[in-house]
Symmetry: D2
Subunit: 164 residues, 4 copies
């Protein structure tokens, strides 16, 4: 079961091309990652106060398939792809909600393909908040993430393998 | 002589209406205030490290006259309107650069009116960075600002008088 | 009954002061206005296709009382203050959700005061989308808004009266 | 000679981690691409009016090496990596200006490494502005870009080869 978070497209997200500005998909993905962590019991503000560390993004890869527009209702997914002692790789998709939920029994995969607006891999590291130097992920964070880890025998698309 | 800072309109600034999104004029004004302070010798990052304080905005009033569009070259002004021991009022204008500089000898004021896209007053306070509680502006900051202060006998348009 | 819309504070909303960047409250307010219009049956993208017009902001006045921070859950209200043939004035508040809902029976007004982070008035006009020139609000939009109009005998705080 | 564009880090660019928010590097890169195109005689707003088309990003790959902070002065480069009939690949770097220009004769490459904050590849396509369907790049745009094209025998790092 993949975590997903609903996001509505507002004026602030669009640009003069009439579509969502390309950098804003990274905002949408960050919101979904935050809610995914929250669903796992991880509040980042509190985590920083407790551990003195914070997550930082070290690598992103995005493919933009179809544009989102004003008033569109989106679903943004977050799924742990790989976790090491110092970094995570999270796979994310931005879907058009109406199409993602449509019942096209004759051609479900065609409907799914039309719903996929953007997809990507985000690599996240853990750093000391004061020095911004890489550090080991707190043990309880890694534990919270483990039950969600997918079968890691499958090769990771998008980002090269982490060797922490 | 009013301080002005050039700003170009990029895709990120526009929305699906084909014009600059209304909140982004506050970004432009903040950039111009930062460069105005820098021109007076005040670097905010260093100031925070030295004093433990930072500026926060406590009130804004903006009028939007004409929209800016992609590729427009703007001039954003910043002028101290009033300074107290705990807050400043800064008057700012966003002008279309081409029209602001045009030589319309027959009707200079008409040209100036066409160039004015947005104008407003921004009240800024000084707070302790750790507690975010109001504090007195550092003396050397007030001194840096003083030579630029306009005649304070004139009433302040836009914001009610500060009574710190 | 005042319309309110929940908004969560994410990393994108904050700045290096550790608080929400002042321009972003205008984003939050725009989101709440959009959802308020949607609740009244007005979808802006569709409205533009049907009428060739769109809303633009012509004036904003904001007071910032307390800062919002990462992970805060907010409520943003939108209430019609005045409607004319060519513009609307909407009063908006940004509240900290936990405090807004707290049961402080001994001092309810003190709790409400702590919950109020930012408040303001937004004047909105209607323009032709192609020319961006002011135009009359479509009749059915005005009709949709009327049932929500407050008692207009009260003076409008924040913005001077519209004389369309 | 690689095109570079100076960018200053303002409050709007930072987040509560005290560093530039990761999506904002895509804004910086878009600004630099826009100025690079302008330097080649290509104004996007005018181009759209003349041709009915516009550029859209179809793929991005970024690596974040070191964070930028408030008040940092950056240099953002843009260099054509490959051009096809329907898309371009542009390689971009975000450098810390002070370090990029420092004279470290003993270890110039070490200084250059410290200056590199972020780097990436951006694939850009050309679409009909009304339908957003892919289209062929206007001939005069391709011609403007050609003199800058690097030796295309070298493999492209970052993005897989375009097969338009």
């Amino acid at each position: 079961m993949v975590f997903s978070h609903p996001i509505r497209v507002y004026w602030e997200d669009t640009d003069a091309g009439g579509i969502v500005f390309y950098a804003n998909y990274l905002k949408f993905m960050e919101r979904a990652r935050t809610e995914w962590l929250r669903a796992l019991g991880i509040e980042q503000q509190r985590l920083r106060e407790q551990t003195g560390g914070l997550f930082v993004v070290s690598e992103t890869r995005l493919k933009y398939h179809r544009p989102a527009r004003l008033d569109d209702q989106l679903l943004v997914t977050a799924q742990l792809q790989e976790s090491g002692s110092a970094s995570l790789i999270i796979e994310q998709r931005v879907l058009l909600a109406d199409m993602a939920g449509s019942q096209d029994e004759a051609a479900p995969s065609a409907a799914a393909a039309r719903a996929l607006l953007c997809e990507g891999s985000i690599r996240i590291g853990w750093v000391n908040a004061a020095t911004l130097r890489p550090a080991r992920l707190p043990a309880h964070v890694l534990q919270s993430l483990t039950p969600c880890a997918p079968d890691t025998r499958h090769p990771i698309r998008g980002l090269s393998t982490v060797k922490p």
